[in-house]
């Protein structure tokens, strides 16, 4: 191998992105496309009585205004469609900001203005919008995606009763939104051959294809084939993972209009159209020995769900698996609100992890044991889980979390910490140091890659996974180039099109674990195929050399023992006369990724001003495939964690159930000045149970510990324990 894997490799698509040459979904110019715009319900519960579209239809350029009376009847399975209903199939309104009409016009401006002119009359019922008002109605929802909402091992209640030390606290986080910069977009084209092509902002083109195919299967004119194209994504964070109504409605509108239709959601519409992080309360009880060994964890979470479904998207994986504890009981309750369905949002497990890592800090203070030491005492090398076939304990394929604690603590200077809260001052500021473990699960989706060596000796890799901003083009190009012995500039990677072999959704930190193996396999097969051609070809200098004795480097093939016997990819394939095309698959397994975050906050006590001034992380992600993109994930994750801890908060009016801050002016996310530089360390060691060149899924792990670490640092700085994010200024006065 030429050794690109593991290096700091610049993004192969970086120039295209910063120059605007990269074509995102809405950049696709489709001749004759009309523009769609949604009319959203202004009530949160009730039904549409009448839709008066006369003024809208009279507006210049307007082609049609579709309502639930016009839409084809669509049917979808439970997942990965994320709503318990499809809008515009009937008159019922389930939340404010639900599509009730679909305007199609010649230009976007015409469609927008016509949407303003559509008059909708409703019969409204009073919505329930605030979780605090109905907490007494919390219930245990049925399992979601084969996972029970009650889980555990041992007898947590009894162990708590007998525990030498107990922590009993409630933590809370509000509703939050993903806010990718690229708005959701769909351009639907019903081609003459019956294919429905969707230029789509999708984290999973294959998932979306499956969903759209099923949705239209029962209609009178189902598409012969569905193709979904998403070459670049301007951020998804889960908001573009499942398929959402606007995609289905746009495909339907294009069919009704008999013309391609392009829809781009407005920023405000994105606050009710694509899921959000559920509002969440987490009651945690820990039992421990005086020596700091956990004996019991009892966790009851309550998350918002809707009247029609009970899907819990924020699982309690770390509560169940991260620490060695014989008695664990987890219950995930739901409370029904008249709001849109929540969804996965980077990183879903942060929501429960915030409570766990804060509670551990409270325990460490209670016991007088250093927070790092407490975690080391409860470290486990095996996965403790209750699975379908009963309780299991299986080893991780290497879990270097202890090394993460050590490396990050040392780089941070943790040993110099005075453990007493409120004792560290610098000028008029209180200084606090806090830490937390970071962890997240990652998924695996069976995937395939196709690799073609052209007559020019260059490689083209095709696989229907996606580039969601994380560096997929680059990392897969590195893997293929290394395996082939080609410079990375000779590998063209093509992604985000269901015309390519099916591959993983880019969600759940699944892209690397799912796709790297197949790409590596395809490249290996391609190299073997070209070598086989060379050694069998009397015109090749390598003719007759045993295939196993041929190595590939820098685009050339050499006989291992005699480097003067050499040929090139280009010459071999050119003599062969047709491109070499192979595919690769390599199944993998899902797993967990670990790390630690240490950070410093400074608080000006008079005004309650808080700054995060220093962050050090260390992660065990197995083998690091690209140091630059891995570091990018850490910077992004830490920034998300700062937003979660200090400012992010979707406000819903308790009376109308409407989002009050549906824009980036009033929904705050961190700006550069809120975010210090991050020292990102990696334990760079391949793990044995990974089929992705020893790498784990990583995207969602960094940041998972940041909210708790900030709260823990605030406690260390001031002696004040905050249990509800966002930690705004008023809470620090």
């Amino acid at each position: 191998m030429s050794g690109l894997v593991g290096q700091d490799v610049a993004r192969v698509d970086g120039r295209a992105k910063v120059t605007g040459a990269a074509r995102y979904a809405a950049d696709q110019e489709v001749p004759g496309a009309l523009h769609g715009f949604l009319v959203m319900s202004t009530i949160a519960r009730g039904e549409v009585l009448e839709i008066d579209a006369r003024a809208a239809l009279a507006h210049p350029g307007v082609v049609a205004v579709y309502t639930h009376r016009d839409m084809p009847r669509l049917r979808v399975p439970d997942f990965p469609y994320n709503r318990p209903f499809i809008p515009m199939q009937d008159a019922r309104v389930h939340h404010s900001g639900q599509p009730v009409a679909y305007v199609v016009a010649q230009t976007l401006e015409q469609a927008q203005e016509a949407a303003n002119l559509v008059r909708v009359r409703y019969r409204a019922e009073d919505p329930v919008a605030r979780m605090a008002d109905v907490l007494d109605q919390a219930f245990l929802p049925e399992k979601f995606r084969d996972r029970n909402n009650e889980d555990g091992r041992g007898d947590a209640a009894a162990a708590l009763e007998q525990a030498e030390v107990r922590i009993d606290r409630t933590y809370a986080s509000p509703m939050q939104h993903h806010n990718p910069i690229e708005p959701h977009t769909t351009t639907a084209v019903w081609e003459e051959d019956g294919t429905l092509t969707l230029y789509e902002s999708a984290q999973g083109v294959v998932f979306t294809r499956g969903m759209v195919t099923q949705a239209f299967a029962g209609t009178d004119r189902p598409p012969a084939n569905v193709r979904v194209v998403s070459p670049y994504l301007g951020g998804g964070f889960g908001a573009k993972g499942p398929t959402y109504p606007h995609t289905l409605l746009t495909a339907a509108a294009a069919r009704l209009a008999g013309r391609p239709v392009k829809l781009v959601l407005s920023r405000a519409q994105m606050y009710t159209s694509n899921g959000h992080r559920a509002e969440y309360r987490h009651h945690l009880r820990l039992g421990a020995t005086r020596q700091g060994r956990l004996t019991a964890i009892d966790a009851t979470s309550t998350a918002q769900v809707t009247r029609l479904d009970g899907r819990i998207y924020n699982s309690s994986d770390s509560t169940l698996h991260l620490y060695s504890c014989p008695n664990v009981h987890v219950r995930q309750l739901g409370v029904r609100l008249d709001l849109p369905t929540s969804s996965y949002m980077r990183s879903p497990e942060t929501t429960s992890h915030f409570g766990l890592e804060t509670a551990l800090d409270e325990l460490s203070h209670e016991l007088g044991i250093d927070p790092v030491e407490l975690r080391i005492r409860n470290h486990t090398e095996v996965v403790q889980a209750t699975e379908a076939n009963g309780r299991t304990e299986r080893p991780y394929g290497g879990k270097h979390l202890l090394e993460c604690y050590r490396a990050a603590a040392e780089a941070f200077g943790w040993a110099r910490r005075d453990p007493r809260p409120g004792r560290t001052r610098d000028g008029d500021e209180y200084v606090g140091w806090g830490m937390a473990t970071e962890t997240h699960t990652y998924g695996h989706i069976p995937s395939e890659a196709r690799l073609t060596i052209g007559l020019d000796g260059r490689a083209t890799l095709r696989t229907a996974t996606q580039e969601i901003g994380t560096g997929t083009y680059t990392v897969l190009g590195q893997v293929a180039a290394d395996e082939l012995g080609l410079p990375i500039g000779h590998v063209t990677t093509l992604l985000g099109d269901t015309a390519y072999p099916a591959a993983s959704i880019s969600a759940g930190s699944s892209t690397v674990p799912s796709v790297v193996g197949p790409v590596s396999e395809a490249a290996k097969n391609a190299r073997a195929a070209v070598i086989a051609l060379a050694v069998a070809d009397p015109r090749s200098p390598l003719h007759g050399v045993p295939a196993g004795e041929v190595v590939a480097e820098g685009g050339r093939l050499f006989a291992r023992g005699d480097r003067d016997r050499t040929d090139t990819y280009r010459d071999v394939v050119a003599r062969h006369g047709s491109p070499v095309e192979v595919t690769g698959r390599r199944p993998n397994t899902a797993g967990h990724t670990f790390g630690a975050v240490f950070l410093e906050v400074r608080i000006q006590p008079r005004l309650g001003r808080l700054r995060v001034t220093r962050v050090v992380t260390a992660h065990d992600l197995g083998r690091v495939l690209n140091r630059r993109t891995a570091r990018g994930q850490v910077i992004g994750g830490v920034t998300w964690g700062i937003g979660f801890a200090l400012m992010e908060h979707t406000m819903v009016d308790p009376g109308t159930a409407r989002v009050v801050n549906p824009n980036l002016s009033t929904y705050l996310v961190p700006v550069c000045a809120d975010t210090p530089s991050v020292e990102a360390l990696f334990v760079d060691r391949p793990i044995s149970d990974s089929q992705a060149l020893g790498a784990r899924g990583f995207g969602e792990t960094p940041g998972t510990g940041v909210p708790a670490a900030i709260g823990n640092a605030i406690f260390h700085a001031t002696g004040r324990r905050l249990r509800e994010v966002p930690f705004t200024q008023d809470k620090l006065l």
Partner: protein
């Protein structure tokens, strides 16, 4: 967003003439605020009159006063040498506002006429007495963290978002207007209105009037001024609480003081009683605390903004400590 007509005016007089004869029109300069309001459906105009080409962009330091042209850009004023030297509170307030991109575009006149950031006001689907008189005010019982504790009523508790207006209020600026009935000058203390029963009326401006410039008295006091802005993230965000202060001491005694507050009132908030409580007295922690208590004596906090009662007093103490050299 509705289609609208568009005219470029050549002179202030022409701009005002067009406005008077065009119902539903509005002036537009940088467009960083008006166009967003129109896109959001919070405001609708059939016609926009572009005032970028009027000769109102100047910044002139004359005898006794600083004159800021209404179409001077925020950045130009913030970086102007005389402003920085003699009116630091203006420069600081402007630099603490918005983003560099917006400051490059946004005009002084437009800055003063910003509308509130209240989410209910900006969401055309929500009730709002300011946007749609008679529809009610959901902020009073709803989300009101960003709202006023002073000067509100049962129709509206929205704050005015301009930092510059707070600084100009502290400095006793005068807003010059040109309208169909001629030119007039309005002291800034009378420029912004309390919501009362007509929250839709935010300023003393009459229909068709155009801000032409703003005059700021050139005083020794203004040279000893500062702006303190507290907010929920480090930059690019409106104030939770802000204070514009100018302080002149004679020894340990306050010779003169000007104070204005943002984020707490339904208009840029000035309280003569608070200043009087400090003037002529030694600047002590106790005097500052008394002034702070006076400031909030009539505060009407709600669930989400109760903390502002305490925070604004601390902000006052902090800025006076700094200006008065107490630390």
């Amino acid at each position: 967003m509705r289609s609208f007509g568009y005219t470029i005016a050549d002179s202030p007089a022409e701009a005002v003439r067009i406005a008077a004869s065009t119902p539903g029109s509005a002036f537009v300069a940088g467009g960083t605020e008006l166009l967003n309001l129109m896109r959001d459906g919070a405001q609708a105009h059939d016609h926009l009159i572009d005032v970028n080409h009027l000769d109102l962009g100047g910044i002139a330091a004359g005898p006794g006063r600083l004159r800021l042209g209404a179409s001077a850009r925020m950045r130009q004023v913030a970086e102007h040498a005389t402003v920085r030297r003699e009116f630091p509170v203006l420069s600081e307030a402007l630099l603490a506002s918005a983003s560099p991109q917006i400051r490059n575009m946004a005009s002084i006149g437009g800055n003063l006429l910003q509308r509130t950031r209240c989410g209910y006001f900006r969401d055309a689907g929500s009730p709002c007495d300011k946007r749609t008189p008679g529809s009610g005010c959901p902020a009073i019982a709803g989300h009101n963290r960003g709202h006023a504790i002073l000067g509100g009523g049962d129709r509206c508790i929205a704050t005015h978002p301009s930092d510059l207006a707070v600084a100009l209020t502290a400095l006793d600026a005068t807003v010059h207007l040109l309208g169909p009935e001629g030119a007039r000058a309005v002291p800034i203390a009378e420029f912004y209105l309390l919501p009362g029963a007509t929250p839709e009326r935010e300023t003393a401006m009459r229909p068709g009037e155009l801000i032409t410039w703003v005059d700021v008295p050139r005083t020794t006091l203004a040279g000893r001024s500062r702006y303190l802005k507290l907010r929920d993230r480090a930059t690019f965000e409106f104030a939770v609480v802000s204070v514009a202060a100018a302080l002149r001491m004679r020894g340990r005694v306050v010779r003169d003081v000007r104070l204005a507050f943002g984020g707490v009132g339904t208009r840029p908030w000035r309280d003569a009683g608070v200043e009087a409580a400090l003037r002529g007295r030694p600047l002590t922690r106790q005097a500052i605390a008394e002034a702070g208590r006076l400031l909030v004596r009539d505060a009407a906090p709600r669930e989400g903004n109760r903390f502002k009662v305490e925070l604004v007093q601390r902000a006052l103490a902090s800025i006076l400590d700094d200006l008065g050299g107490l630390r």
